[in-house]
């Protein structure tokens, strides 16, 4: 079972997740970023569900493992949809929503097919393996998509502060998890990672709650002028 620090971080994360939805509702941004808010809402509800299953069956129980991994796959799909929503916001003036949605569906289908191809050799627990593999692969797809989106924001000189804050925090979140995952593989016996991963889980809702609470949807950043160097 997690210790008191683990429970505190988990509780704090759940509070921050629901505070994102509350801030979005208070600032009338719930519908504008519907998938982001649904992701946070589901994340909060599933945190409560995970706590219930953990309290009933324990950390090492099969019930908790199944509930954790299946709920994580659902949340990863929601996070993917939230990321596609951010793409739609960035490209909203270019009238290419249809193609963004088409590419997103094709990418999701391709990731699912790839994940199926990886686990099709296993005879038992194939659905569980598929869910786990899909969640991991979709996570890396989200990581790449976030960097592409950030490059697009720079290229299109997007200046909406709230949108930039949402995308940047998502990019930092994905990058932190990928870096921690790589370090965890290199140094598997460090106990440090037990707490650092849940802390990262708190930082994303904190950044999003700040974006909804403090930044106006119409606020714009002053873009830097390009320095032209004469050669």
């Amino acid at each position: 079972m997690p210790d008191s620090i683990g429970y505190t971080i988990w509780f704090l994360g759940a509070i921050l997740e629901v505070s994102v939805v509350v801030c979005a509702l208070a600032k009338d941004a719930f519908r504008r970023y519907l998938c982001l808010n649904l992701y946070m809402l589901f994340s909060f509800l599933l945190s409560a569900g995970r706590f219930y299953v953990l309290a009933q069956f324990g950390l090492r129980s099969s019930q908790y493992k199944y509930f954790y991994y299946y709920s994580d796959a659902v949340l990863t799909i929601f996070l993917y949809l939230a990321l596609i929503t951010l793409y739609l916001h960035v490209f909203d003036e270019m009238k290419v929503e249809k193609y963004v949605r088409l590419t997103a569906v094709l990418l999701l289908a391709g990731t699912a097919l790839f994940s199926y191809g990886v686990v099709q050799q296993s005879q038992n627990k194939m659905l569980t393996g598929f869910v786990y593999e899909l969640s991991q692969n979709l996570y890396f797809v989200g990581l790449v998509l976030t960097y592409i989106l950030w490059g697009t924001i720079l290229k299109l000189r997007e200046s909406r502060t709230q949108l930039i804050q949402l995308v940047l925090s998502l990019g930092a979140y994905f990058s932190a998890f990928a870096a921690t995952f790589a370090l965890q593989n290199m140094f598997p016996h460090l106990e440090f990672f037990t707490y650092i991963l849940p802390v990262f889980g708190c930082l994303l809702p904190l950044a999003w709650a700040y974006a909804f609470l403090r930044l106006s949807p119409d606020a714009r950043m002053a873009t830097a002028r390009l320095a032209v160097v004469q050669r």
Binding site: L107, N137, A182
Partner: protein, 73 residues
């Protein structure tokens, strides 16, 4: 197939290939650690992780004889 559908498919496959390459690089020394990135709930421990003793290597590497294929019976 229309040109825009083809380009959408090409983009999707390009992103997928990039993501899987990144996954391969990040998980190059994978020792069974899982990466679950949603929420701050404690990750369930993987099977066979009792205690902190070093995990033995997966293959018995005694000597330099070639390892038989796994399905050779």
């Amino acid at each position: 197939m229309s040109r825009k559908l083809t380009s959408s498919l090409f983009l999707a496959m390009l992103v997928l290939a990039g993501a899987m390459s990144l996954k391969t690089v990040v998980a190059a020394q994978n020792n069974g650690a899982v990466m679950m990135a949603n929420g701050s709930a404690p990750v369930p421990p993987p099977n066979g992780r009792n205690g902190s003793a070093p995990v033995p290597p997966p293959n018995a590497w005694n000597g330099s004889a070639p390892v038989p294929p796994p399905n050779a019976r």
